[in-house]
């Protein structure tokens, strides 16, 4: 009986073709899997599956190349924007994007991030901000909130000791080379749809030579935050969105 309804004409949802069946190493509840899927869907919808090159970070998404069947380069920690700059300059008709976490993009690679964006390189940076270093076991990130506890600020982030959270997306919106800077999230269906539209807008802009785009996805790290996936989403909504306000910070595309 159940088998009767499994037919192509009844299909309402499917995995993007670019996503393979490799089991993901991400923790259950992590935002990465959702964002990977959105990236794959947008590439397919744009018809760019054979003309796309991704650049992976060092961090939790270091193995992003395992899950999307496209060409990838694995960059040194923080250097993805420099790597992507060269690929795009040398193959201008390719879609080139980086996929980076907060430690990679906003800390060790802040220099590369700012300069690639400021040169107006025609690429997109997908920025996963979960306010913690997930891969290395939950240490303080440049985006860790004041008072937030991590392995290297176990009593909470204290600006006198640890400095302030870095709002690099805000900073990026002030750079002349950027055309589209936005902050999204993927905790519910509505947010996911908005995030996908943002990624598509950014990718399209980079193919149209409009300049650099930065798409921040405010994300959860339930393992690092030591919360269940549901509670992590609640914590994100209650705490992260206050500091990292969602929406477009710069949009020169619709003008």
């Amino acid at each position: 009986m159940a088998n009767d309804i499994i037919a192509p004409e009844n299909l309402v949802y499917k995995k993007p073709e670019l996503m393979n069946d490799t089991p993901m190493h991400y923790c259950p509840g992590c935002s990465h899997g959702v964002v990977h899927k959105l990236v794959a869907e947008v590439i397919e919808e744009m018809g760019m599956s054979e003309k796309v090159v991704g650049v992976c970070p060092v961090g939790c998404a270091v193995f992003a190349y395992r899950y999307l069947d496209i060409d990838w380069q694995e960059a040194a920690h923080g250097r993805a924007p420099a790597v992507a700059t060269a690929i795009k300059r040398l193959w201008p008709d390719r879609l080139v994007f980086t996929y980076q976490g907060d430690g990679d993009l906003a800390c060790i690679g802040a220099c590369e991030t700012i300069h690639a964006l400021n040169r107006g390189e025609n690429l997109t940076m997908i920025f996963i901000n979960n306010a913690i270093y997930g891969m290395t076991g939950g240490q303080m990130a440049p985006t860790t909130l004041i008072g937030q506890k991590t392995a290297t600020c176990p009593y909470g982030r204290d600006p006198k000791i640890h400095g302030y959270p870095l709002n690099i997306t805000e900073l990026a919106s002030h750079l002349e080379g950027t055309c589209y800077v936005t902050r999204q999230s993927v905790e519910n269906v509505g947010a996911i749809r908005k995030a996908k539209a943002a990624i598509k807008k950014a990718f399209t802009a980079s193919m149209e030579g409009k300049g650099s785009s930065l798409v921040e996805i405010v994300s959860t790290c339930n393992s690092g935050w030591k919360l269940s996936p549901v509670k992590a989403n609640q914590w994100m909504e209650e705490h992260m969105f206050e500091k990292y306000v969602k929406g477009d910070l710069k949009n020169t595309l619709d003008e």
């Binding site: 054979e50 090159v53 190349y65 060409d71 380069q73 040194a76 590369e112």
Partner: protein, 353 residues
């Protein structure tokens, strides 16, 4: 023209696709010359002034990983910053060309010439077990000739290749015959030569993934063994050197790059005094011409390794001759370039007493 200008001109002529660099003395003429010549309007070569040497080398990683002929140039402190990227290139087997117009160190050091980056260049330089092909030019002509050679070797072996020059060769002016124009490769040619390149995955192949990461030690050991086997192939096939008047010599001066240029004059001065001296010049510093030096040293009374550093290549020379004859060192430091007379005097003092 200057050695630095020769590098820039040769890069355009040999079909280089891109240059990424950051200014530093004594090699800024390279990027300045490229900026003046505007190759993006003629051959389509991309020229980008990066925000740092760290970015430059990672742009080389990205561009060369996408199958293109890409180079960067710098001087010692900048090359030190690039070591992370060079190690990643070696690990991911990405070909690219790095030019080091050396200056004295350590630290910010001096803007005057030196050869004190020999260890860094020939031992890998960054983390991990790897080697970079190292070519040492001794003239403006070789600065021009080695650009294409470095690209050829880099792509033949999917390995970074370095031209280890110094402030003397970079800044001095000589006559030079520039290489003939070679067109940049077409997309089809890149696809054929570099089936591993990340330029968009077509349906007829698996995705190309360039990475130096592997968490399984069993697999990582195999990768390392593969690299070591490749390095052995390079050692077996790519040694280059030049021997001048070594056959009848009693003593041999071993020098590379600008020191070898000075060594030629020292040989002439010594022979005028009746001392039979020859010059052995390694052109590839890695792979090092160990067997060739051992053969040239047979029956000789001694070797003087003359280099503009505190004694670096002498270790490779000693390993090559394995105690068969005395090996002494002469070097000036801190940006001082030695006189040929000094070299002859040291040879007499250390080897002829």
């Amino acid at each position: 023209m200057k050695g630095n200008e020769a590098i820039a001109n040769a890069a355009i002529r040999c079909g280089a696709d891109a240059f990424f660099g950051y200014p530093i003395t004594p090699q800024s003429e390279i990027i300045e010359t490229l900026a003046l010549l505007k190759p993006w309007e003629t051959t389509g070569m991309v020229v980008v002034q990066a925000e740092s040497e760290v970015s430059s080398i990672n742009m080389v990683y990205g561009g060369a990983g996408a199958g293109k002929r890409v180079l960067t140039t710098s001087s010692s402190p900048g090359i030190a910053l690039m070591q992370e990227g060079i190690s990643y290139m070696a690990g991911a087997e990405i070909p690219g060309v790095i030019v080091n117009v050396q200056r004295g160190g350590p630290g910010l050091g001096t803007i005057q010439p030196s050869q004190s980056d020999y260890f860094q260049a020939t031992r890998g330089g960054g983390n991990g077990d790897y080697n970079v092909i190292v070519l040492a030019p001794n003239s403006v002509q070789e600065m021009a000739d080695f650009v294409d050679l470095a690209f050829e070797l880099a792509f033949k072996y999917r390995n970074p290749a370095m031209i280890l020059s110094d402030g003397v060769i970079g800044q001095m002016m000589e006559k030079v015959v520039l290489p003939p124009f070679k067109p940049r490769r077409t997309e089809e040619e890149v696809r054929k030569e570099c089936p591993w390149a990340t330029m968009g995955r077509t349906k007829d192949r698996e995705p190309n993934i360039l990475t130096s990461l592997e968490l399984k030690p069993e697999v990582m050991e195999l990768r390392n063994i593969h690299l070591q086997e490749k390095y052995q192939t390079i050692r077996d096939n790519e040694v280059r050197y030049e021997a001048q008047q070594c056959d009848d010599a009693d003593y041999i001066i071993v020098s590379f790059g600008s020191a070898a240029r000075i060594g030629e004059k020292a040989v002439e001065l010594a022979r005028a005094e009746g001392i039979k001296v020859g010059l052995f010049r390694p052109i590839t510093l890695w792979p090092f011409p160990s067997k060739e030096i051992a053969a040239a040293a047979k029956g000789k009374k001694g070797i003087l390794v003359s280099e503009i550093n505190a004694g670096q290549m002498i270790q490779d020379v000693k390993l090559a001759v394995n105690g068969a004859l005395p090996v002494e060192h002469f070097g000036r430091l801190g940006g001082i370039v030695p006189d040929p007379e000094e070299i002859v005097n040291v040879l007499k003092d250390k080897l002829m007493r």
